[in-house]
Point group: C2
Chain length 244, copies 2
């Protein structure tokens, strides 16, 4: 028996997030189905995070305990041959028995994509939040810098979340424009439920004048979700990297 | 009555190319349906080129004669509201009565996308030709330079094509790598049927050693389609720009 860390990427459009749930197709389920098909044994897979329905991952890590003799490229190819086209394994490597994809992650980076143009873009359909009025990305970038450092992020967490410790450390936060795309990227040691989507929604509310652009410090201090902005739609969110 | 030039972009996956044909859905048809829905009148649309089934367009131009009072952003928005999500109008402007999107085009640029990686990429599914062995892009770029200039491109044209004049002038031809993506871009005053896909397929055959990397001059001179390489799949091809 060996513990194997799989690095995967997936287009989350068709999935109800990572975690197995009744009456909905999830990425964890199709991954476990694929592992069972190539090894003959159903193994549980432990993911690096839960992702919401419709959220994408350019890099997501999950671990399994398996007796398969397959390793590396061969294991990737075998899984990719049976996985649906919107999920792919990019790397497979053996890790220590005690390795945990979630607890051992030192940091994660998310990117939130906004299509900031008057008209739709067929190639970004399902991969970006479409905002038609021009966004001041310099204002958004300055505001994002207030997220840097160690804070209690309770105000930027979906209400009803049951996490006890809402303190996280943000090591990178930036907004940049690439043509019609506005990209908000943020890296932290961990994220609360809906945290990136609420950050992105609040930054947009700051650009549109609904929230003062210097409000993040007071919003964080209040711990009050109602003082933050809207929750940006899931389709614009990409888990970009996991660091161990 | 005014002649209006529409700039559109579309994900060609679901379409049998631009041109209306019986028993198949085409981009021209859905565009004409949209124009009819917003103006109440069915107008013919003239395109800047035929594109094959499955080929994409980041920029495609078509013209219509219409009595609609809508112009610019308003016309774009009205059409985008009724078009399917994989087709969008990005610009609409009035042109002279005699303007022809195909004959007046001074040049067109295509980009052919190759995913050059061992494993699949869910985000490039339907948008790239997947080649698993490593491609020598320096070799491909040098070979592509032989396409520059004015040549008879009959050897790089699908056999059975009825075009009489097969002489075209290529003003740009390059192959570059961007991570796992290999991009072949080519600009010319016009293109023959399947010309870019045969160019891309031949460049790949040169990288894999099936065709000598310096073969383009002799292949062009021969005029023999059989001396060129394979036709690359449609899904990797993007009409990138039309220049007037």
């Amino acid at each position: 028996m060996a513990r194997i860390l799989l690095t995967i990427r997936y287009d989350g459009t068709a999935y109800h997030g990572w975690q197995v749930q009744p009456n909905a197709v999830t990425v964890q389920q199709v991954m476990q189905d694929a592992v069972e098909r190539i090894t003959g044994v159903r193994s549980g897979l432990t993911g690096c995070s839960r992702t919401d329905a419709g959220v994408h991952a350019r890099m997501f890590c999950c671990a399994m305990d398996s007796e398969t003799p397959l390793r590396g490229e061969k294991l990737c190819a075998a899984l990719n041959a049976v996985l649906p086209r919107d999920v792919a394994v990019t790397e497979a490597r053996e890790v220590e028995e005690a390795f945990h994809p979630r607890y051992d992650a030192k940091g994660k980076r998310y990117v939130y994509q906004i299509l900031n143009a008057r008209q739709r873009d067929p190639f970004l359909e399902g991969y970006a939040w479409h905002i038609k009025y021009p966004l001041d990305t310099a204002l958004m970038d300055r505001a994002a810098k207030d997220l840097l450092g160690t804070h209690d992020f309770a105000a930027l967490c979906a209400s009803g979340s049951s996490v006890e410790d809402t303190v996280r450390t943000v090591s990178h936060a930036a907004v940049e424009r690439q043509g019609d795309l506005v990209l908000f990227s943020v890296e932290a040691d961990g994220f609360l439920y809906n945290m990136v989507r609420i950050m992105a929604g609040t930054l947009v509310d700051m650009a549109s004048g609904r929230i003062a652009p210097d409000a993040f410090p007071s919003v964080l201090e209040s711990g009050d979700r109602h003082l933050a902005g809207q929750t940006a739609p899931a389709c614009g969110l990409f888990l970009q990297a996991v660091r161990y």
